[in-house]
Symmetry: C2
Subunit: 250 residues, 2 copies
Amino acid sequence: MREPPLTVLSGTPIADDGDEFTFCSTCAFSAACLSEGYDKSQLRDLHVLVEHVGPFREGDHVFREGDPFNAIAAVRAGTVKTYVNDASGREQVLGFFLPGEVIGLNAIASSRYPCNAVALDTVTLCRFSFPMMATLASRMPGLQRHLFNLLSQDIGKASLLSGNFTADERLAAFLVMLSRRFAERGFSPNRMRLTMARTDIANYLRLAPETVSRVLRRLQDEGVLKVDRRDMEILQPAVLDELAHHVLRD
Amino acid sequence: MREPPLTVLSGTPIADDGDEFTFCSTCAFSAACLSEGYDKSQLRDLHVLVEHVGPFREGDHVFREGDPFNAIAAVRAGTVKTYVNDASGREQVLGFFLPGEVIGLNAIASSRYPCNAVALDTVTLCRFSFPMMATLASRMPGLQRHLFNLLSQDIGKASLLSGNFTADERLAAFLVMLSRRFAERGFSPNRMRLTMARTDIANYLRLAPETVSRVLRRLQDEGVLKVDRRDMEILQPAVLDELAHHVLRD
DNA sequence: CGACAAGTTGATCGTTTTCAATGCATGTGG
DNA sequence: CCACATGCATTGAAAACGATCAACTTGTCG
């Protein structure tokens, strides 16, 4: 499966040479729909409602709270952070989205995005008009099922934040999850670059940045991790898993 | 709109006299679908896949973690608590579901229920086979949209637990939300009966039961609430709203 | 009446936050 | 090229909030 060049931008249909066309490999819908045995005309229907957007640069907003909702998007490259500003104006990080993951699902009900989404590095997206996708889903049960699954999965995702866990457990769970998500995409599970700032991690885990710093230092002193600025190596995955166990329940 | 008698049990289609049939008023799908202008045969399709189940008595389980998933259910009467047991076997309360609210949405992706659901008082449900409902949704765009909306809404529901809030703010937000949900169903917003134990509230909010007790006492001493065991009256809604403001952001 | 569970209250302890200062990169203008 | 500013990260000391432990009260039901 070929990957369309990154320079394909907003509004441009993906290259379609004769009867052949390709889905981008990171798009969350490609695999699901390709494996459902749809005929070519149906796949083309899905294909033409994809809009490749970006690149966004670090700090660029993908959407802002209150923007009219019309599309969900699969991250193709880079990391997206979602956040809201609480009543006092302080930022609250809701999540980080890696390649292959879908942003905007929490906006479907409200017709406006309920949070902000910002690029943490260079980001490209596959954008899907949601109304068109919903219409198409009526004719493609596999696509409908995939959408239901994506939505349903996200409902349970709050586990990291919801529990009453220690700072160690939270941070370990965060790192383990990150490692797994990278591994799913074919990256090394034990060496990773944290694209988000310490303050973002802390904010996401509802800890003070200082606490994140201290826990990382201790884990490093104990030989569990090797941390150099934003580059991180997991030296003892078993120890981390054990710490994360209470949070992740597996 | 008539309400079928509570004695209609599992597997029994709702009474259908001649060409007339009725949806139960608390069912989360009735209003949505009735207002979409579907013709009678389509409404009947939706109607016949409804199974009225119950009554469950206090402590009865609606489903358990690991049970095969086949249906979502709208609470018709009573309160349902969902929970998981963490790695140490301790209970973690995930949510409370009042009449009109839908349980089981987080199971769609996994084919098994990821949590337990237990009746806190006498509970009756409208159960919908999810595979059948998904099939029907393909033909009824309004039903599909409603399902997408329900799922999307639930994604954002973790706000109460996710934030770094004080015990006062959490409890106030909990009470305000409860009040609103009761009000939506036509109950008084300021007088309500808490169907869940203090320990459940504490567990849900990730606080110690003692802390819940103390905060309730203080709010009572300050004249904000009047609490008598499980009966609660909100005397100063504005004060409670102000406390909850940081959590609920509205 | 008595036993048991749930809830409340008080005293103490501990983890995390907060406050404050320093270190360390990167970038900018003289 | 250096001096300085800026932003992020780290470290230390102190304070605070909620948890824990323990005792007691209240309500419920046999």
